[in-house]
């Protein structure tokens, strides 16, 4: 099969024109992966191309990069799935991580975030002999998180990390949930309090779904973060903007049949939280100038009986 790839190159040792896109053409086996193509380039065409790869079997997590704009593990991405014969693929390094050379990014921030969440089991006490006793169900549930290979694709595409690098991020939060739900761990409350309070914790996710979309191991980090939010509320750690936001959202929708955005902003910040409210003023002014300021008193939906019924049903189900 004839294959054409454009690779985004970066050479830190060049002083000028150190960023460029280079095209490579080759003839390789029809079921080749993107990684096969890159290895072919490195071995046969251009020994200066930099990339990481090891296992070729989607278990080591080395070969994350962007293919046609979307983060992929290239060892499990077959070319024929993305391009017709002769069509050019664009390969770029992952996002949200500084590039060291070509397709190699600096993964140190990724792993530093792992250490933030106390990434090891903290039992109260160890069994005197033998193993911890736990149900197979409780363990099998954790396999979802355990499947994470720390490839960094979720971090590459995370829209929060793009603007706020204090966010702990999808991979590390998924890892955190692996300990929160482990019946052997004794620090559940502390862990949740930390994830709840910390700037950059579970409430910073905007549910854009990018991490769920790109995860090559179906860890679905966003779903794990949502689990953590629910559990945090259940165990009573409610003193968070995130909880206030959720609560205000629900009250508004149930009461008026629609969202009262002004009230939501005030209640999420906290009515008596003066500094946070002052922060809102410039946002409000900008919205006013653009004509986007929500009405101070909400319109009521014409018939919100149905909505109230739905809300009641949900309460019953819970």
């Amino acid at each position: 099969m004839k294959v054409s790839i454009d690779v985004k190159r970066f050479d830190p040792e060049k002083t000028n024109e150190n960023n460029w896109v280079q095209n490579y053409k080759m003839d390789i086996h029809p079921s080749s992966t993107v990684l096969d193509a890159l290895i072919h380039v490195r071995e046969e065409i251009d020994g200066t191309l930099g990339l990481r790869c090891a296992c070729r079997a989607s278990i080591c997590g080395s070969c994350g990069m962007r293919v046609n704009g979307k983060a992929k593990l290239v060892c499990k991405t077959r070319i024929e799935e993305l391009a017709e014969e002769g069509e050019t693929l664009l390969i770029e390094p992952m996002g949200n991580q500084p590039v060291i050379k070509d397709l190699i990014v600096d993964i140190s921030a990724f792993f530093a975030k792992m250490t933030q969440i106390t990434p090891f089991l903290q039992p109260d006490e160890f069994p005197k002999q033998g193993e911890f006793i736990a149900s197979n169900d409780s363990m099998e549930k954790l396999l979802t998180e355990m499947n994470c290979i720390m490839c960094g694709l979720c971090v590459s595409e995370c829209t929060i990390l793009e603007v706020d690098d204090t966010f702990i991020g999808p991979a590390a939060l998924a890892k955190a949930s692996r300990f929160v739900y482990d019946p052997r761990d004794s620090q559940t409350t502390d862990r949740l309090n930390f994830l709840n309070d910390e700037q950059g914790g579970i409430w910073d996710c905007t549910r854009c779904m990018q991490c769920v979309d790109v995860c090559p191991k179906d860890v679905a980090p966003m779903d794990r973060i949502m689990d953590l939010r629910e559990t945090a509320i259940e165990i009573g750690t409610k003193k968070t903007h995130g909880y206030d936001h959720t609560n205000s959202f629900e009250k508004s929708v149930v009461a008026h049949g629609r969202l009262d955005e002004s009230r939501l902003a005030l209640e999420s910040a906290g009515i008596f939280n003066i500094p946070r409210l002052l922060d809102l003023i410039p946002v409000g002014l900008r919205a006013l100038i653009k004509g986007k300021l929500p009405p101070l008193f909400p319109h009521k939906a014409e018939d919100n009986k149905k909505i109230k019924e739905i809300a009641k049903k949900i309460k019953e189900m819970e």
Binding site: E13, I59, G61, K76, I107, M114, F126, E131, L143
Partner: protein, 560 residues
């Protein structure tokens, strides 16, 4: 002052288990690894880890006998005894560190059956056991604040007055060469699968640790014992775990026959790996294969069972072959997978070179002999990784704090690197490696004979010359120069290949994975011996054949 008491080369299971133990013993430890720890090839172990747990009615002797029989009586029985006795505690300890093992209805750890064993004693995490263990040991290393030289490649060992006192290593991110001193060094750098093409092994398995030890006076033992795994994917050679057969999958030939009934009527698909691989190859050679493959059939296990117990296998099969295992059998064939041979050590990781220890796949204790049982490799890494740390911690107390001069070692390696960077020969590194690796598979395969082994040796000899005189690299930069890295790795692979062909040509019998069609029988009279190969500073090779240690189990005919 030394930089470290103990420096561990490699951060897979053996390296990290060793590091965690050494930290607990209060040593100043560091790990040096050419990839981030969680990228290590221990990840690729899928099926599980063996342990005879007494509270489940099992006993260490059963496991030891299965291991020894599996090894075709080449394993040293005193070493096997230690591994089997310590296995239970080693696995329980991993559980207490946080590994999410599968469990039974009683909430205790559950098992599956694996090849060459009649008892189900393999503990597992889905089909990602290696990855699950590696990530938990990495967690423990974070807990203990382990220092890691990440993405550093060791170019040589510092050997001062006969003892190993550190390494010289290349920081891949900067291209700078530096010396790191240590009172002792543990080599835990994994296998050498890339010496063969194809192989199930990661591209990083280039025998670096074997070469480092061999070039510093340690012996390489039983290197001819190359494990061909019975179930690797057609074309790509990617591994499908033995767990598939452990959970009940069939092997079928082109006639739809479960052909193992001819070769191993009692154990069927769960005979030892060498036996199953030979049976498959015989079927293929005799015209009952399909395009050079046979079939692995899981259809009768059902989709739900496959996806919960063998999820990763299904993922691999779907992603790489487009085959849903619940719908269609998968074409597979034997593929190079593991080296039973390695740096000769005693049961505490000692290599005989002062200050130098080895553990994991690169070491040969020897517990696997001529054929390793599935799920014994993970066990080997954690048991002997821990023991090496203990022994090394005693040794470091005997080493004084005097500073040793390191400039000349760094200078020597700078020279080596300059030679490679300046080389302008006619062959690319990959070309040379691929030619050698293809010849190794052809010559030292599932079946071999004098002629094929001599062919492999001829190519290896030529490769040595080509490597010295005729390679070139294109990348002249410093930052992340993988071109240079591959050239350095090729040097290590050539050392491994050389020791493998010497071992193979030495052993004049068939035993385990070393099956010679020209001498088909096992010969206990003359060959209940290891092949042990040394290289002098001048590159001269000598071969010794020490006796196998037999304790309670006299060699008998091996039938499955």
């Amino acid at each position: 002052m030394y930089d470290h008491d103990l420096l561990i080369v490699g951060a897979g299971l053996a390296g990290l288990r060793c590091a965690v133990e050494a930290q607990k013993l209060g040593l100043k430890v560091a790990v040096i690894t050419k990839v981030h720890p969680v990228r290590s090839h221990s990840n690729a172990a899928q099926g599980g880890i063996n342990a005879p747990l007494t509270d489940r009615g099992d006993d260490w002797k059963g496991h030891a006998l299965d291991t020894i029989k599996g090894s075709d009586y080449l394993a040293d029985q005193d070493a096997v005894e230690i591994m089997s006795r310590e296995a239970g505690e080693a696995v329980l300890e991993l559980e207490r560190m946080g590994v999410i093992f599968s469990r039974g209805d009683d909430g205790k750890l559950g098992t599956r059956r694996f090849g060459g064993q009649k008892v189900a004693r393999t503990f597992f995490v889905g089909a990602i056991t290696g990855s699950a263990l590696l990530h938990v040991l990495y967690e423990q290393s974070l807990k203990l604040g382990l220092q890691v030289y990440e993405e550093w490649f060791v170019t040589s060992l510092i050997k001062h007055e006969g003892a190993v006192r550190g390494v010289v290593a290349l920081d891949l991110k900067t291209g700078e060469l530096e010396s790191i001193t240590a009172k002792s060094v543990v080599i835990a750098a994994g296998g050498a699968g890339r010496v063969f093409e194809p192989s199930t092994n990661a591209l990083i398995c280039t025998g670096d640790g074997l070469s480092l030890a061999w070039n510093n006076g340690a012996g390489l033992m039983d290197m001819e014992m190359i494990q061909y795994h019975p179930t690797t994917l057609a074309r790509t050679g990617i591994l499908l775990s033995e767990a598939a057969r452990g959970e009940g999958a069939y092997l079928l030939n082109s006639e739809g026959d479960r052909f193992m009934k001819k070769y191993a009527p009692d154990y069927m698909e769960l005979a030892s790996r060498d036996v199953v691989s030979r049976s498959e190859q015989t079927e293929i050679n005799e015209g009952r294969g399909i395009d050079g493959n046979v079939l692995l059939d899981l259809r009768h296990l059902g989709k739900e069972f496959i996806e919960t117990r063998l999820g990763y296998l299904q993922e691999v099969s779907v992603e790489f072959l487009g085959i849903d295992m619940a719908e269609k059998p998968v074409p597979i064939r034997p593929g190079m997978h593991y080296i039973m041979g390695g740096v000769k050590t005693d049961v505490d990781g000692e290599t005989g070179v002062p200050g130098l220890y080895a553990a994991g796949e690169c070491a040969n204790v020897s517990v696997h002999g001529a054929n390793r049982l599935g799920a014994n490799s993970l066990l080997d890494t954690v048991v002997f990784g821990r023991r090496s740390a203990e022994k090394a911690s005693e040794y470091v107390k005997t080493v004084t704090n005097d500073i040793i001069p390191t400039e000349k070692y760094v200078k020597r390696d700078l020279e080596l690197i300059k030679n490679i960077m300046d080389a302008d020969g006619k062959y690319k590194v990959a070309e040379v490696r691929n030619k050698m690796a293809t010849a190794m598979t052809k010559g030292i395969g599932v079946f071999r004979d004098q002629e094929s082994m001599e062919y492999a040796k001829k190519i290896v000899d030529q490769t040595k010359i080509d490597y010295r005189d005729s390679i070139r690299i294109q990348n002249k930069g410093k930052v992340y120069n993988t071109d240079l890295l591959f050239a350095l790795e090729l040097g290590n692979m050539i050392d491994c290949a050389e020791s493998i062909v010497h071992g193979a040509l030495t052993r004049k019998e068939s035993r385990g994975a070393h099956f010679r069609t020209d001498i088909p029988g096992r010969n206990d009279e003359e060959w209940l011996k290891h092949t042990l190969i040394y290289k002098s500073l001048e590159g001269e090779i000598t071969v010794k054949t020490p006796d196998v240690t037999i304790t309670d189990w006299e060699p008998i005919e091996r039938v499955y």
